[in-house]
Symmetry: C2
Subunit: 253 residues, 2 copies
């Protein structure tokens, strides 16, 4: 077992360098599923760091699920793969890229509207507040994948109507121009039959199955910043995600 040496002049923290070194070895297959990762002691001695620093590096690997720990035995590489295409908060462009497809969009409408009951409740704003409404057809490799309709409170990005280039990524614009970075989202997924109107736009037969997503995206503070309703073709689109078992003690009480 080799451990790459640390760059003590780097701005990158030591625990992060250690984490990345181990991750490299796991990705490259030097460390295989089931193998023992070097112990905290060993890392500490070999790299000349304190045990707590080594521990922090190992903990970060465990947190993302690539290793697991058995008390009194050691830390081992898990057989869980770091999959790029597990469902997470991504822009459509990013998500299609992860699937190896080229994303594009066709804007159907882009306007301001007044918030109705449901959206106001979801976004924690007043009924009647002004929202941007952006409706797009989402295309992957030039054929339609879904219809998406986003609502965003105007006060978060007052001049969006002027500054937003519909060809660009909405998420990127919000992040770069307004500092609004969505990091968590709650989503309800339904399976349904496509409506006649949607069937035309999606170029699928009437009565085809579709996914209907209702998503509320949030920033780090938990503040809801986007309400999205979308309809995706079930013949082209599948959901791939990873479930974990949460700590029951935290939820039940």
């Amino acid at each position: 077992m080799t451990l790459s040496l640390l760059d003590r002049t780097s701005v990158l923290p030591l625990y992060y360098q250690i984490q990345q070194g181990l991750l490299d070895q796991i990705r490259s297959g030097t460390l295989k599923a089931g193998d023992a990762v070097p112990s905290e002691q060993e890392i500490a001695e070999r790299l000349g760091v304190s045990r707590m620093t080594a521990r922090q590096a190992l903990k970060s690997l465990r947190d993302i699920g690539v290793t697991y720990t058995e008390r009194g035995r050691g830390t081992f590489v898990s057989a869980n793969k770091l999959e790029k295409n597990i469902r997470q908060v991504l822009s459509f462009t990013e998500e299609m890229a992860a699937r190896g497809l080229r994303a594009s969009s066709k804007v159907l409408s882009f306007e301001t509207v007044q918030a109705g009951e449901e959206i106001a409740a979801a976004l924690h704003i007043q009924k009647g507040d002004t929202l941007f409404k952006l409706q797009r057809i989402r295309m992957a490799d030039k054929s339609p994948m879904g219809i998406e309709c986003s609502y965003i409170p105007q006060h978060l990005c007052p001049d969006l109507l002027k500054t937003f280039d519909p060809a660009a990524s909405l998420y990127r614009t919000l992040s770069e121009r307004y500092g609004v970075r969505m990091t968590v989202a709650d989503e309800v997924v339904e399976a349904a039959l496509v409506s006649a109107q949607d069937a035309r736009m999606l170029q699928i037969p009437r009565g085809s199955p579709v996914f209907v997503f209702t998503r509320v995206s949030r920033v780090q503070s938990g503040q809801a910043v986007e309400y999205v309703k979308s309809t995706y073709r079930a013949d082209r689109y599948k959901i791939t995600h990873r479930l974990t078992r949460l700590n029951q003690e935290l939820l039940t009480k």
Copy 2:
């Protein structure tokens, strides 16, 4: 701001007691969304622990998403709710209970079969290895919710055919009798039209939309232990889940 005192004679770690104390205050509304949580310093002084212990408690809260941190400013309560019914690895019984429904099952078949190509690949076993196959209709409040078919390698639980009471929970039996605790699962979700046969069993019209789940459940080490294929009624069943944005640095390389 009050902080409940610690029990130094308890087997529960100090950081855990602190975490629970803060969690109680958040749940009870004493600490509301956006409020500042006591700083590491303050917790350390008031409870007589070291700063690193206080830090560990705060980090555990951040990890589960109930707080977030701004460097140089402090730690704050997030508006994310700890929801019971976000999608996670649960037995059917547990999941229905979280939705306020009473689960029951009807066993259609319970037998051993030889693994085919697809399942062998998913479970990392040899084609032809012996599997238990358990096919059930899942009922919620006495009406059908879905059809589920589980495959489990025989070597994990050799005498399951004899010991398993079909009225009991498969997950609980595996956990208690064989120490097989599934903690993570990868799932593919499709939307489709119900087959004629399934429509009869689910008591829904032909051509209704359904969810089709293909799930591989794993234990902590990442070893796959269960392959499940299920068909759920879309008129009664919705998916509710929480997405997060993963650290891109970890995935892209």
